[in-house]
């Protein structure tokens, strides 16, 4: 399948697991300690982390932008295109969660029949070891998302729709 001398870096499995670890670590609970992340919200946040220009648009739209997002991340060729496959392919996020579970990092809590995800202690340990420039950036982005992490997945989707309309 990979006959071309081209490596789809965004599809590297461990990179995606690392991003998921960061999301689960930073956004899984609110101030009161209630769980926030179900499968759908994780999917939306994964998309926003990987497409910082869209994250910027949403933050502008809700008026909650605080920490500036580096221009190198938004002013790219990738930001000119609109790839939303990830928002609709739930198999991808399922497989990542499965892998995380196998690695013994995923903690699941059921509240009112809905599964909320967080990290195990082992997972938190791994999170602390993820340094380096790229992961620092991801952490920064996750901090930006912190402002909108309590919104429901329906509200997030409608905000995304607004953003797509404008960018078209």
């Amino acid at each position: 399948m990979n006959a071309l001398p081209f490596i789809p870096l965004d599809e590297e499995v461990n990179l995606n697991i690392a991003i998921l670890i960061i999301i689960l670590s930073t956004l899984s609970k609110n101030k009161n300690g209630n769980f926030l992340l179900d499968k759908n919200k994780i999917q939306v946040f994964m998309y926003l982390i990987k497409n910082p220009s869209k994250l910027e648009d949403i933050l502008l739209l809700t008026g909650k932008k605080t920490a500036p997002i580096a221009m190198e991340e938004t002013f790219t060729m990738k930001s000119l295109s609109l790839n939303v496959d990830m928002l609709f392919d739930s198999m991808k996020i399922k497989s990542l969660l499965k892998k995380l579970a196998l690695l013994g990092m995923l903690n699941v809590s059921k509240v009112d029949g809905v599964s909320f995800f967080s990290l195990t202690e082992y997972g938190e340990e791994i999170y602390k070891e993820l340094d380096g420039e790229f992961f620092l950036k991801i952490n920064k982005l996750a901090k930006n998302i912190d402002k909108i992490k309590s919104l429901t997945s329906g509200k997030l989707n409608s905000l995304l729709n607004e953003v797509f309309k404008v960018s078209k």
């Binding site: 990979n2 490596i7 789809p8 870096l9 965004d10 599809e11 590297e12 499995v13 461990n14 990179l15 995606n16 697991i17 690392a18 221009m71 190198e72 991340e73 002013f75 790219t76 060729m77 990738k78 930001s79 000119l80 198999m91 991808k92 399922k94 497989s95 990542l96 499965k98 892998k99 579970a101 196998l102 690695l103 013994g104 995923l106 903690n107 699941v108 059921k110 599964s115 791994i126 070891e129 993820l130 340094d131 380096g132 420039e133 790229f134 992961f135 950036k137």
Partner: protein, 660 residues
Amino acid sequence: MKSYLRIERLILVGIRKNYEVKFENGLNIIHGDSDTGKSSILEFINYLLGSSKIELADEMISSVSYAALEVIINDTPYTIVRDIFKPLDYIEVYQCGFEKRESFISRKYAPNFSASSAPDGIFSDFLMDALDFPRLNLKVSPTQANSQFRRLSFRNIMKFAYVNQDDMGSKNLLGLGDWAKYTYTKEVFKYMYNVLDTDISDVEMLLSAKRSELQSLKKKYENVSDFLRETGYESIPSLDDAIEQCDVLHESISHELNSINANMLANSDNYKELKTYHSEFNLKLKVTLKSIDDLERKREQYLRLRNDYSNDIEKIKAIHLANKKIGLLKNVKCNCPVCDNLIILESTDGGYVKSKSEALDEELMSLIKREKSLEELIYSLSGEQKELLIAKAKLELDLLKVSEMIDTETAGFVTPYLTQRDSLLKEMTSVSKKRESLVASLRVRNHQQDLLSKQNTISDNISTITDKLELLREKAPSIDGVLSYLADELMRFLTNVKIKNRKEIGINNKHFSPIVRGREYFNITSGGLRTIITIGHMSSILKSSVDNEVNHPRFLLLDTIGKYLGKNLKDKYVEHTDLRDDVQEGVSDPEKYENIYNSLIEICNYAEKKKCPCQIIVVDNDVPDSLSERLKTITVAHYSSKKENDLPVGLIDDINYGDA
């Protein structure tokens, strides 16, 4: 050939059948009992020749729908058709006999002068034209110089061709006694005998029109002059002078203006040169701006690409780290954290890849290389852009300088011209405004002058026309000759009828009425005598038309010759006659009665001998016994209310008159 109108046939188109009476050239007699429709025959003829209305008896109303008259006018047959109930409807005329009229298109005429919208004009005009009678306007009161004119109608002439039962022997024959209207009848009489020369009447009409025109012009001129005097208008010469002054001024100003325009053109060469510079710089600036734009876009793209590269470089480094920290998963099995079911993981699950570390390093190296070369490219682009920006600034400065130069140049040479030009133009407009108003004043004055000159021409016209009129009057045929001819004929008639005491017989030259024994016709007391004179006078006029060129249709309709004679005197006429005088005159003498018919026959014979058309239609109660055999051949209708000898009961012969 003499003009004539011959009545051929009267047709009353009825509901059940048509009722016809045929007529011949010469004498035609209709006789029968009273109330059998004899007089209606003449009334219908009169109506079909344009009378304004007709009195209809009950049996007519119930039986007749419309009337038609076949006539021959100057050898041409015509059929006249008219509605009997609506006298104001158009009269239809077919140029053919009654039976053939289906295949002809009718001409439609208005019955009187007031309805002028008829498709073919007015009925009277049709008859006058067909008879070749001149159509004239006659003076209503001939003695006045500016009298009104009235159109002569065939109806006016008809008075001399139709004597109805009321007029027969009446003191008011031909309207005698109503002197105001009679003057017009006199004019018609003169017209008939061409004594009233057409030239004279035309000229008189012209003269009258000219006089009225002169009068109105005089009044107009006076009004205009008064107005101009009051409003203080300049006189024509002073107006002319003022206009001339304006023209001179106008010309000098326009000359000056032309010279200024020429100067302006000469000085503008410098300006043209500057203008070329200006447009050149402008073009260069535009080109520079465009290339700066292009460079900017290119640089932007390179920058984006470089950011992508640097992000990817970070990503590869992160992948290395993640691989080290998370480790590898190879077909591991464990229990689900939610439901404790067994989870099996395949390496291809979710479409993710796991690249080899060497490949990633290779990619990393190449990305770093590409990033570096892109950076160099961006630097060089920036340099290029910088140069262009400097060039652009210089061009803008040049352009500004040239524009300033142009402005100063223009201001320097144009402004003084403009102010001068402005003031000149203002002056010129004011001069032409003034001229316009002067010309308008002059127009008014000229019109006034025009009125005066028109007056003069008309005055000249009037004097020449008056001269001409004098001349015509001198040459006109005298009325006296006509009157003496008619007096002779009346004398001959009275002699034939054997009236007693025939002396001082003549025609009054004032109102053209007969005089017998020195008494005016309307002063004669005996109704019988008046009747005889009426017949004599009317037949004399008919006979004169045989001998002379007279504007008369050459037929005569006489209603009830025996009106005052004998047993048939109707009650309503008794008061108009002195019965004792009638007895004294012996008018009821059958011999005199017979003589009247003989005289009428004589006139017809005379006309036949002269080969002149002539027609007399007589309506009477009875004919003299001695003549009845002779007259049978020329009797066109004979009615008997008691149907004696199988005679028809009346004009409408299919109803019972006795019951009506």
